[in-house]
């Protein structure tokens, strides 16, 4: 933002107040060609690891869909085509950061140390699936955008406790229309909170396309209204997302406040396994979008750098499949939790008046056994 030192006043009384500008970050084009020099963080190991992480996510994701289709798991929101977003976040999160995901962050979860079988448990309808992970992280968030206000609170807590870490939170393009989103951004700006908000702009909120979700040309510019830094990145370029995260962390550590990162991507899959996107979008559009997908472009870049070949691809695919298969086995083997468990963890201490309801449950169970 730049204010001119000597404003000129027009006949209607107008004078220039200030300009705003937005920047975009991208390193690789859709075909994997470098648009600029390799950033420092993008060592050979880093590049290969980020690629492997994206592939691993996609293998897990495919299997999760298959499980739902065969009735062994519940409704599941795929992350097909959006792997770069989550992998970049997962690789940049530090141990003591607070992560507040929405519901499509499988890539980040896997890098955050969650077991594949736990993710399957959650989507398979078992609360124990969201009981694990770093103790300061929030579980999957279903009520849209409420995780942003939680992250603002977490960021405030970090600041109050003089901790150096970030509150990192994700959201879809649809979620940016919600009051929670604006309210949280606003306080992040007012209080200079160490928070990073990453928008996975995959162009669709179920059936609602981006252009009728919001009238502004970018979602990143919502940051300006909140007085925080905003930037748009190519969300299918894992390096771009990672770079934005690095800058955001630096910004926060220098007490320059929060960052809003809009990651441009495309939802190559249906909203969930119960949705059918062909009802509301043309197949040609999806076909075009495949050209920009994140895994293919990084693979090209790696191959060009002689860092990857088909043998390694084969080996890694096999390794990922094996890992996923083992996780599926563990998930399917897990006995569902007892009916009484529905009463666990309501309060820290058990209110005595609830004993009566345990009796009601016992009666109900005895009836179910005899039928």
């Amino acid at each position: 933002m730049k204010a001119l030192k000597h404003p000129q006043i027009s006949e209607q009384g107008h004078s220039h107040l200030m300009d705003f500008s937005l920047q975009k970050i991208q390193f690789l084009d859709a075909d994997g060609n470098w648009l600029t020099a390799r950033p420092d963080f993008a060592s050979d190991e880093w590049l290969v690891q980020s690629y492997k992480n994206m592939v691993r996510t996609r293998v897990f994701d495919s299997k999760a869909i298959a499980l739902q289709r065969t009735g062994q798991m519940g409704t599941y929101p795929s992350s097909l085509g959006q792997e770069a977003f989550g992998v970049a976040i997962g690789m940049s999160l530090q141990k003591d950061d607070v992560f507040a995901p929405y519901y499509r962050d499988h890539a980040a979860h896997l890098l955050r140390g969650h077991k594949m079988s736990d993710l399957l448990l959650y989507w398979g309808g078992d609360e124990r699936g969201s009981s694990k992970g770093p103790k300061q992280d929030f579980p999957v968030c279903v009520p849209i955008a409420t995780q942003i206000t939680h992250a603002a609170g977490a960021a405030a807590a970090l600041k109050i406790k003089n901790q150096d870490q970030l509150a990192v939170v994700t959201i879809g393009d649809g979620g940016t229309s919600k009051g929670d989103f604006f309210e949280a951004l606003n306080v992040a700006g007012a209080w200079q909170l160490p928070m990073v908000v990453l928008v996975n702009n995959n162009q669709y909120a179920i059936s609602v396309p981006r252009d009728i979700q919001c009238g502004a040309p970018t979602l990143a510019q919502k940051a300006i209204g909140a007085g925080i830094h905003g930037v748009q990145v190519d969300g299918n370029d894992v390096l771009a997302v990672y770079q934005a995260m690095l800058e955001a962390r630096q910004r926060a550590q220098q007490h320059k406040g929060a960052t809003l990162i809009e990651a441009m991507s495309y939802r190559l899959c249906d909203h969930t396994t119960a949705d059918d996107a062909s009802r509301y979008r043309a197949n040609e559009e999806v076909k075009e979008a495949w050209k920009n997908e994140p895994i293919k472009r990084l693979q090209s870049a790696l191959v060009n750098l002689n860092l990857w070949d088909s043998e390694q691809e084969q080996a890694w695919q096999t390794q990922c499949s094996d890992e996923v298969d083992k996780a599926v086995e563990e998930y399917l083997k897990t006995e569902k939790d007892t009916p009484e468990s529905m009463f666990d963890h309501l309060y820290e201490d058990w209110p005595e008046v609830m004993n009566e309801q345990l009796d009601l449950l016992a009666d109900k169970l005895s009836r179910q056994q005899t039928h």
Binding site: G74, T75, Y122, W123, G124, G125, D126, E127, V142, P143, I144, A145, G174, G175, S177, K178, G179, A205, I206, S207, V208, I212, Q213, C214, D275, R279, Y280, K336, D337, P339, S341, M342, F343, L346, M354, Q357, L360, L361, D363, K364, L365, R367, Q368, H371
Partner: protein, 337 residues
């Protein structure tokens, strides 16, 4: 899509509950220009459950609006539209996401007529699929009608069959005050019934007697009606004649029908999916005890969900009341007599 349009021209239509909702919306939008629809995915996608299917094609984007993702916005805009001569039907995609809409429902929709002494009113309908039983992820199975019913100035209506969904939704749209219309998703695609697509509304503020009986009164609403009727069948085999009442309008309650029934049977079991404490059943039980005390042969029983959150779907069926639970509660009425 064409099948839907054909359906809407016909007079007598075989419909499941979901289709009956769609029929009623088509009918009323056809006959009343002031009726508009707004919500997430209601236009192009026809609603995530297809309740608004075919409406955008027929009536255009000015009357069927795909809103940005924001429930407070949806209910707030509905309030705004309703005060300016439109009849908005707002959809909240799932009852689990209705909470941001509460502010506008309770602070404004419920009070507009009252605080302007009748100068302004709020003829809006807020529709939401509610309840559990479809193995959905968390937050998608809520049953919090009691929270809304506790607020003065709002109507809460819950249909339990395609025919009643059709008639009650028409009544809700035509009602000059705000109505929250909760559609039990567990029976969205239950059996088909023949709907006479003649625009005839059913009365609000009244219960419906679905079965006549002399030995016990079973009171329920929504998806639990299916379990209650099943229980009545099982009771009939045991020689117990059960009267089944569908409350339908939760607020304001038609106590007269329920009390008359209990006066005649002397026994009452109330069935609802929602949590036990502070549920709608508690209000009905209190009124029955107050006004039928002298006719009761046994205490009023409630068969409900527990005071826990609806568990994730692997354990959903331990939470939801079933017909065996209802029969057991009726047995209790007879043991204590």
């Amino acid at each position: 899509m064409s099948a839907v349009n054909d359906m809407n021209q016909a007079q007598a239509v075989e419909s499941v509950l979901l289709e009956a909702v769609n029929l009623a919306l088509h009918y009323e939008m056809e006959h009343d220009e002031s009726v508009v629809l707004l919500g997430e995915d209601v236009g192009t996608n026809g609603g995530v459950f297809r309740a608004t299917s075919g409406l955008k094609e027929k009536f255009g984007f000015k009357r069927v609006m795909d809103t940005p993702l924001a429930e407070a916005l949806i209910s707030g805009m509905a309030v705004g539209m309703a005060t300016q001569g439109l009849k908005p039907i707002a959809e909240i995609q799932f009852m689990g996401f209705i909470f941001p809409a509460f502010e506008h429902l309770f602070c404004h929709a419920a009070r507009m007529r009252n605080r302007t002494r009748g100068r302004m009113s709020c003829p809006m309908v807020l529709r939401a699929p509610y309840g559990g039983g479809i193995h959905a992820p968390e937050h998608h199975s809520e049953s919090t009608e009691a929270l809304i019913a506790h607020t003065p100035g709002i109507r809460v209506v819950i249909p339990s069959s395609p025919a009643r969904a059709y008639g009650l939704l028409l009544a809700a749209i035509r009602d000059p005050d705000p109505v929250v219309f909760l559609e039990p998703k567990r029976i969205y695609r239950g059996s088909k019934q023949t709907i006479n697509n003649n625009g005839q509304a059913l009365p609000l503020d009244t219960c419906f007697t679905l079965r006549q009986g002399t030995d016990v009164t079973l009171i329920s609403w929504g998806a639990c009606i299916a379990d209650t009727l099943e229980a009545a069948d099982k009771l009939a085999e045991k020689g117990v004649s059960a009267e089944v009442i569908d409350v339908a309008t939760i607020k304001p309650l038609d106590m007269r029908t329920m009390l008359t029934s209990v006066v005649n049977t002397g026994r009452c079991v109330i069935v609802h999916e929602a949590a036990r404490s502070f549920g709608v059943g508690a209000e009905i039980a209190a009124q029955i005890s107050e006004k039928c005390f002298l006719n009761l042969l046994a205490p009023v029983q409630r068969v409900t969900g527990f005071d826990t959150h609806m568990p994730y779907f692997k354990n959903e069926h331990y939470y939801l009341p079933n017909s065996e639970d209802i029969v057991a509660a009726v047995d209790k009425c007879f043991r204590e007599a």
